[in-house]
Amino acid sequence: MKNGLTQIAILDIKQNLRSKWFWSYSILFGGFVAVMFALGITESQIIGFVGLSRLMVTFMQVSMAILPIFVLISTVRSVVGDRESNVMEYMLSLPISLSGYFWGKLLGRFIIIFVPVFLALFGATIWATITKIDVPWDMFAVYSFQLAAMVICFLGMSMFISTVSRSQEIAISVAFIIWLLSVAFLDLILMGIMLKSRMNPDLIIGVGMINPLQVFRTGALALFDPELTVMGPASYYILDTVSRPVFIIFSVAYPVLLGGLLAFWGNKYFNNNDIL
């Protein structure tokens, strides 16, 4: 007899495989790669990188836009939704540990969210190999880790929100606010405004570096644009403070740590409070 983690993870995967959102999500990512190939996005040369690397960078930018909101919206309802619908009352009358239930849900969600994205990226490398396009395997490996890190980050966040929220409406509202704040504090929008209004650079960079979306974006950019030229003056500050390899490691480690910590607190809350 196990503590239920595996069974809950498998159950969550099976349930999600039946849901429409999962198939829309998978088709979106898979379709996106297919469209990029069809449009010949691998064939042009832009700022020194060609072939599959261009497709991969574009894929990462799209992932940055879509993945967090997908993770947040699909996952914040999981625990609180089970609680509201009496599913949890029944499931947790079974010999399943509370931690087994919590981490099982998280594991199931991770697999169901990460696998389609990874397969889309991996499928691109397979297609590129078949069509004799150079595959930058090191880039593929780092991007895979970065994608996994971002999924873990927003999954941990979502599970925390879902556990502490008393209703699905509250959970979804909080998830939207977090996503909006993450987008607003990207260098593209608010960071630009902050820079223009000559705010303290430490504060600007600090805000950027606690925003996992910004960390992900910068980490992904750093791989094909070593000078981070597209980020403007902020790049000097970042690259002066930490080296490029260190930042790439940070872009994987920080989201994992943040997501892991939030998931840990979520599990702690789940274990120490009323389940229903």
């Binding site: 007899m1 503590n3 069974q7 947790l92 079974l94 010999p95 399943i96 120490n272 409070n273």
Partner: protein, 296 residues
């Protein structure tokens, strides 16, 4: 509590309190349940029955002391719940198919799947014809039959049922109660129900709750060897179908039209009957009880 009961103690509750937003739902409750008991947990809506069951299942944090098999249900969930069968009041909207549910339960509890199938079939739910159907799409009665079979098939040491027969058709209800009757005498059974007439012949103890406190705790067991009887003659102001069914269950016969009823009740069942009939005190006009002792 007798020495035997103390040894068989499965659930021990001392000064249990539970509040939601400063509203006390369970108020300094002290009660214990032993392995050989079949308990009717009764009370109005909001009396605290479901909250008590959820505390026993380790789903709520609480003040006071609660132990199941001598263990804390919050910190020893798996160990406790592998021996507890639970049927909720409302079937959960599980999206799993019947097959997935059976596999899931069998895997989780180490029970042979056929045990669940057998009870389901006995209750009138054809598993074979419904294997690929999502649980959510089954009718209310079918869901309840499956939940009951999942609870009983595990052969638990404690059975907790919250209005278990609410969605069952009369035939399935009869089979269901036969099943409960045949459950091992060592099993503690706690049935929360509003239909006292249904479970009256099944239970050995009645615990009534109101505003989070126990207002009545009656052990109904008198030695089966007693041959004494109580002769009842009850005159009612009015009578409804529920009451009539109870009287018929207890072998009462109507005399003088339909308002006066007579029967002899075994001493071993007398306390149980008194508890049931007390719920109809408002419509009782007159009641005569005479004890008839059997000859030695």
């Amino acid at each position: 509590m007798t020495e035997k009961n103390r040894n068989n103690l499965l659930i021990d509750i001392e000064h249990l309190s539970k509040s939601f937003k400063k509203i006390k739902v369970i108020d300094d409750l002290t009660v214990s349940f032993s392995s050989n008991e079949r308990v009717a947990l009764i009370g109005q809506n909001g009396a605290g029955k479901t909250t008590l069951i959820r505390c026993i299942l380790g789903q709520y944090v609480y003040d006071g002391k609660l132990s199941v098999f001598g263990l804390n249900p919050r910190t020893n969930r798996e160990e406790i719940l592998k021996s507890v069968g639970f049927v909720p009041q409302l079937p959960p909207p599980l999206k799993m198919t019947v097959k997935e549910i059976l596999d899931f339960f069998a895997g989780l509890t180490g029970t042979d799947k056929n045990e669940f199938v057998k009870i389901s079939e006995d209750l009138g739910l054809s598993i074979k014809n419904n294997l690929s159907k999502p649980f959510l799409k089954l009718s209310g009665g079918m869901k309840q039959k499956l939940l009951v079979s999942l609870a009983l098939g595990r052969k638990p040491k404690i059975i907790l049922m919250d209005e278990p027969s609410a969605n069952l058709d009369p035939q399935a209800r009869e089979i269901f109660f036969q099943y409960l009757n045949n459950v091992s005498k060592d099993t503690l059974m706690i049935l929360s129900s509003h239909r006292m007439n249904e479970i009256s012949t099944l239970v050995t103890r009645i615990v009534e709750m109101d505003l989070g406190k126990i207002t009545l705790d009656e052990h109904l067991v008198v030695p089966d060897s007693s041959k004494n009887k109580f002769a009842y003659k009850i005159e009612f102001k009015e009578i409804n179908d529920d009451l009539k069914n109870i009287l018929l269950d207890w072998k009462f016969r109507g005399v003088n039209g339909n308002l006066v009823w007579e029967a002899e009740i075994n001493e071993s069942d007398n306390a149980k009957f008194m508890n049931i009939i007390s719920h109809f005190s408002a419509v009782i006009k007159d009641m005569k009880v005479e004890k008839r002792e059997s000859e030695p």
